[in-house]
């Protein structure tokens, strides 16, 4: 049985936000809710690194452990899902999640909170597959159509891989072996040119 996981390759991500857009479009996610986000470290500095982050469908998920109404469950494929009919919107899962995956609608009568929304690995939820109720609550169920998450399949540079952990690990492993490391990485010279020759700092000068 497949064990579904995401794998983000920081060397390939070009911060195009295609995965974020694909997710929003696929599930008609409301304004203020981001099931997937692109996080960039050292933004604007040569060598910046971007990574696409969503629910990582943890093998030992902290959200499941802290939920007071036990609305989380894990499918046989290892996808962590939840029942929105049971969720009370307490936000414990948001505090427990190391990736900030649980999202809460910003609109409505009380402005904040409401039932939690998160990445479903495009696997819907506990409603009839591809029904209107499932789409309204959880979004499209691509897994039931024999497809992988829209974000991973839409990724232009294939920085975001999603699917059976064994297969995507092999893809990533082969990729790392081919491209080398550091300045050997494909595209580095094209993007950033040769390393800058900086003058040596004067002794005693403040950095």
């Amino acid at each position: 049985m497949a064990r579904m996981k995401f794998l983000a390759d920081a060397e390939r991500c070009i911060e195009c936000n295609g995965c974020v857009t694909a997710c929003k479009q696929e599930h008609e996610i409301p304004w203020g809710v981001n099931r997937r986000r692109v996080v960039t470290l050292n933004d604007g500095v040569p060598g910046e690194k971007s990574i696409s982050v969503a629910c990582m469908h943890c093998s030992d998920a902290p959200c499941m452990a802290v939920c007071p109404v036990d609305c989380f469950y894990k499918t046989t494929e290892g996808v962590v899902l939840h029942d929105k009919d049971l969720c009370i919107g307490c936000g414990y899962c948001f505090y427990a999640c190391p990736f900030g995956a649980p999202q809460f609608p910003q609109d409505g009568a009380f402005g904040l909170r409401g039932k939690m929304d998160k990445c479903t690995f495009c696997a819907g939820g506990p409603e009839a597959d591809n029904s209107a109720a499932e789409y309204r609550k959880y979004g499209r169920n691509r897994l039931a159509e024999g497809k992988l998450p829209a974000c991973a399949e839409m990724c232009a540079t294939k920085a975001l891989l999603g699917g059976d952990a064994d297969v995507i690990s092999d893809i990533y492993r082969n990729r790392v072996l081919r491209r080398g490391k550091g300045s050997e990485v494909w595209g580095w010279g094209t993007a950033y040119g040769k390393p800058e020759q900086r003058p040596a700092a004067k002794p005693g000068a403040k950095s």
Binding site: P126, L143, A144, G146
Partner: protein, 78 residues
């Protein structure tokens, strides 16, 4: 004079001994069980009609299509 002292000593002893009978209070954490509606398997629908192998084949083909190094020789229609 000695009687009140004896009474006081007996009361203090009884009070002190009462502490020995205290039970340990340790919280027991229990693993929660999913309380929501049951979900079906992704192959239990009109598209795959319960054919798990067909679903796994479709997912496998999609998995492998993410590897651009092996895309030169397409093996699946998905």
């Amino acid at each position: 004079m000695r009687r009140p002292i004896l009474i006081l000593a007996a009361a203090a002893f009884a009070l002190g001994a009462a502490g020995c009978g205290e039970k340990t209070s340790v919280t027991v954490y229990k693993q929660g069980q999913y309380q929501g509606k049951q979900d079906k398997q992704p192959w239990d629908n009109d598209l795959f009609k319960g054919d798990k192998l067909a679903w796994e084949q479709a997912i496998k083909a999609r998995n492998e299509r993410q590897d651009e190094t092996s895309r030169g020789t397409p093996t699946a229609k998905n």
